[in-house]
């Protein structure tokens, strides 16, 4: 399975999805008007990954900003990983936020509250 890489822009995140190591990362900004264009290919990749996943999946989120429609896609991606988690695979989300960025910390708390996979909040 090919890895998925996408360069970031002023409105879209840098995306790295590594099928072999199970390491994945979103960083930068995710504020596109049309999140479907950005995230549908990512969802498709993840659906394929889930069929033959790595032993450990680590999903790193280092976002500066994200909009409401991106948050819905983020949740949908995490839901896919919940399915993996239920089958006994190791899955963890690492949610990074800048020191004193209460809002991004709060967003991490939101996902931790909603999800059944471990969500670790990390200051950087």
């Amino acid at each position: 399975m090919k890895n998925f890489y996408m360069e970031g822009s002023d409105k879209t995140p840098s995306i790295k999805l590594d099928a072999e190591s199970g390491e994945m990362e979103f960083s930068g900004k995710s504020i596109p008007e049309n999140s479907a264009d950005l995230y549908e290919p990512v969802m498709e990749w993840i659906d394929n990954y889930i069929k033959a996943p790595a032993e450990n999946t680590i999903f790193v989120v280092k976002l500066e900003y994200f909009n409401t429609s991106s948050s819905k896609y983020l949740l949908e991606i995490f839901r896919r990983f919940e399915e993996l988690f239920r089958t006994g695979k190791k899955v963890a989300v690492q949610w990074y936020y800048e020191l004193e960025d209460e809002d991004m910390q709060e967003s991490g708390d939101d996902f931790r509250d909603i999800l059944k996979i471990p969500v670790e909040l990390i200051v950087y």
């Binding site: 002023d10 409105k11 504020i31 008007e33 049309n34 999140s35 479907a36 500066e64 900003y65 909009n67 409401t68 429609s69 948050s71 819905k72 949740l75 949908e76 800048e98 004193e100 960025d101 209460e102 809002d103 991004m104 939101d110 509250d113 909603i114």
Partner: protein
Amino acid sequence: MLQLNYCSPFFVSEKEKILTKMSFIEEIIGPNQEILLSLAWNRSNFLMSGFTEMELNKRSDKIVFSYMGKPTHEMIDLILEMSETKLRIIESNSTIVKRIVNVLIEILQNIFNHGEDFSVVDHQSFKFFLFKRGDDYFIITENFIKTKEVNNLISKLDGYLSMSDEDITRTYRKTLDNGGFSIKGGAGLGLINIIRKSNGNLEYKFSKVDKENSMFRLGVQIKVE
């Protein structure tokens, strides 16, 4: 303090010119100087009435950025970019800058997704103000919406505004969890987020323009503790 007023029609093609001008100005006066930039056809055309507290006081409030015209995608990007640039110069608290930009993203994208078809309305179809009063920041927007959607929006806004902080967080999480997918955001998640980030310091007003269209005016205060 330097104040610039562009009281002529502003087009997206002028973006480069203005950004160049801004960096030129910053080069001359230094990045820590306060720059007040107002981009509007004519500031006196802004109708600032009907709100209790969230009124622009032209004498004492400091305008960070203002715009009146059609809200194209390019224009919204420019408002976000320039507001953030200005905020980073005048506000040292980066948490506040990020919070304001976050609220701006929600408000502006919400207007674009739910507002009236802007291609058929005139140059005054959208008004935007970001200003500072004391330590606090205020965002005021005006845009058209369909009159038939007004009651639904009022009941949503009033419902969310009557909630405690804990309830609004619970509602946000529940809506995110169950809201499903919608290109337009849907389910009011953007609105809930705006209310949450502003701690409920929000005012709104609807004015009927004609049978089909109404003006929606939104004021949000971001308090700096």
